[in-house]
């Protein structure tokens, strides 16, 4: 299997999005290294507005590359708190640094601990990727 960066301490959806609670309590959202490698050159993010609410597994927007369009699956239920405008202005940062400067938005989430139980940790996400790569 090709090498993919799968950060520990992050939780992953089946839509290849991640969520991570930062030190300051912010719940950040982004796409995985696997996702950005499959998409290749990311050119556009179609995102919701601050204040929009989503349930876990809802589509909250789209990420576009030159070749394809993918839905962004919301990993935890919540309300959009901030949008990372720098990523919107320069979406290529998601390819370069999907877990760092490539974060997409933050969410207010009241049920984070409950919702992440339904997500994959790093090990489970590795297995999930591996199962898809075999096909």
């Amino acid at each position: 299997m090709e090498e993919y960066d799968i950060k520990k301490g992050y939780y992953y959806s089946k839509g290849d999005t991640w969520v991570h609670k930062e030190v300051d309590g912010a719940i950040r959202f982004g796409i995985s290294d696997y996702a950005q490698k499959k998409l290749k050159s990311i050119i556009y993010l179609n995102l919701p507005e601050v204040g929009d609410s989503f349930q876990q597994d809802d589509s909250l927007g789209e990420v576009e590359s030159k070749k394809s369009l993918s839905e962004l699956i919301c990993p935890v239920s919540g309300t959009v708190k901030t949008i990372h405008q720098e990523a919107v202005d320069e979406p290529g940062v998601l390819n370069r640094d999907p877990f760092g400067e490539g974060w997409i938005l933050t969410l207010n989430c009241d049920c984070y601990q409950e919702d992440i139980k339904k997500l994959m940790d790093a090990a489970a996400y590795y297995d999930y990727i591996a199962s898809r790569e075999k096909k």
Partner: protein, 461 residues
């Protein structure tokens, strides 16, 4: 017996089309115009902006033509000629309108038209006032640019779209545009293509705030990448004169910032031109700043009607034109053949934008269960040929019936192929109906097929 069966005040598309329709029905008709025939559309709006945009597009394509094999070391833009041509095109269209009205026997009265009451109109010109009577009066006086009372917006030299389109003193290097709506963005496109530094300040969270959010968001990304500065969520608080132009202060969140530029364009909307329209003591029921009308365009004074920008929620030339015709149809007791409700709206940015019917948000707000098909046109041949910025087609259908209820297109020539969807919505075509159509290749329009296929897939879910 009245002087005329119909008097129309205002010679823009609404007014002249109403007058021509009345003449077709054999009604003795007069049209009053205080400025030039053709109104805002021909003289200060649609036609002038598209004329100058054509010039800037040519200039931009040549300057950036190297990779297309077009090499030019010294490309100049001659702004006096650009604006001179704009005047020429407007004049040609005005002459055409005058000819049509003359051929149909409409009396054109030059002067300020003022409603004095039911059946009575005054025309004022050079201090001379003449009163005419009419069985029916249509008010079609249009709109004028509006600058809200923000400190400094009344400083000398602050431009409106009217003044900027005059093209007097066109040589400046930077322009701050207050207002990220249609007018602001079309002017931004023109000056940006000429290489000017452009800053757009918009108070709402996105450009084109009254349209599908993807238009404004996508356009913002494109314009920023092309070098424009775009400030959204930014409310202008004051404008100051400074040595080389102006400082425009704005609040964004808790912060107050300013940007500097040689010129400032106030593109914050337009208001009905009612200043000289209503005589002393004449009051009409209003809907905020617009004249209130019913479904028959009747105002609160019997046999007095208002059409176009004066009364319409959507202020566009083709809306005014249709309303003028339908209003006269109704006056003449005929059943109108034209639909006044389904209005395509186009914005002449790069890429062009066109929309008709509902978008996802308005459909959701109306409680309609829908499916949306979308195609992003990265692989469209024509788009690749011209190296177009991000372009897309979105089509919305009612989930139960599969009937098309809306379409949004952001693509070169979008204005030229939105009508497929106006027709589809009007005649209740389904997604499957549109799937049957062969669209030419290579064309921008064939991108529609991908969106329809995606829509049909979504409707199966």
């Amino acid at each position: 017996m009245a002087d005329y069966q119909l008097i129309v005040i205002g010679g823009g598309p609404g007014g002249y089309d109403a007058a021509l329709r009345a003449a077709d029905y054999g009604m003795k008709t007069a049209l009053i115009e205080k400025r030039e025939l053709g109104g805002t559309c021909v003289n200060r709006g649609c036609i002038p902006t598209k004329t100058i945009l054509h010039s800037s597009e040519i200039y931009y394509d040549i300057v950036h033509g190297n990779e297309f094999g077009v090499k030019s070391s010294q490309t100049e833009i001659d702004l006096p000629t650009v604006f001179g041509r704009k005047k020429q095109v407007s004049k040609e269209l005005r002459t055409g309108v005058a000819g049509l009205l003359d051929n149909k026997g409409v009396t054109v009265l030059q002067g300020i038209g003022t409603l004095l009451g039911q059946g009575k109109v005054q025309v004022s010109e050079n201090g001379k006032n003449t009163i005419f009577t009419a069985e029916h009066i249509i008010l079609a006086a249009g709109m004028v640019p509006f600058c809200p009372p923000i400190p400094g917006l009344d400083l000398e030299g602050i431009e409106t779209s009217d003044t900027l389109l005059e093209g007097n003193n066109p040589n400046f290097n930077s322009l701050i545009i207050i207002g990220g709506g249609v007018i602001g963005l079309e002017m931004a496109t023109f000056y940006h293509q000429l290489g000017k530094k452009i800053i757009v300040i918009e108070g709402m969270s996105r450009l084109l705030p009254n349209m599908d959010k993807e238009f404004g968001r996508s356009l913002e990304a494109i314009l920023k990448r092309s070098g424009m500065t775009i400030c959204t969520n930014s409310m202008v608080s004051k404008v100051e004169r400074q040595e080389n132009g102006y400082n425009v202060w704005f609040k964004t969140g808790e912060e107050e910032k300013f940007v500097s530029g040689e010129r400032v364009l106030c593109a914050l909307g337009r208001r009905p031109d009612t200043a000289e329209l209503l005589g002393q003591g004449i009051e009409l029921a209003m809907n905020k700043h617009q004249i209130k009308v019913n479904d028959r365009f009747e105002t609160s004074i019997p046999n007095v009607y208002a059409i176009g920008d004066l009364s319409s929620k959507i202020q566009l030339a083709h809306v005014a034109s249709v309303q003028g015709k339908v209003c006269v149809d109704l006056i003449a007791g005929k059943k109108p053949a034209l639909d006044t409700k389904l209005i395509p709206i186009c914005v002449y940015t790069v890429p062009e934008i066109a929309t008709v019917g509902l978008d996802e948000e308005t459909a959701k707000a109306a409680g309609i269960a829908t499916a949306t098909g979308k195609a992003v046109l990265n692989a469209n041949g024509r788009n690749i040929i011209i190296e177009a910025p991000r372009s897309f087609v979105k089509i919305i259908a009612e989930h139960n019936t599969h009937q098309i209820i809306g379409a949004q297109i952001m693509c070169a020539r979008a204005a030229d192929f939105i009508t497929e969807f106006t027709e589809a919505i009007l005649f209740k075509h389904t997604a499957e109906d549109l799937l049957c159509i062969i669209r030419p290749h290579p064309s921008f329009e064939e991108g529609v097929t991908g969106a329809i296929e995606n829509l049909c897939e979504k409707l199966k879910q």
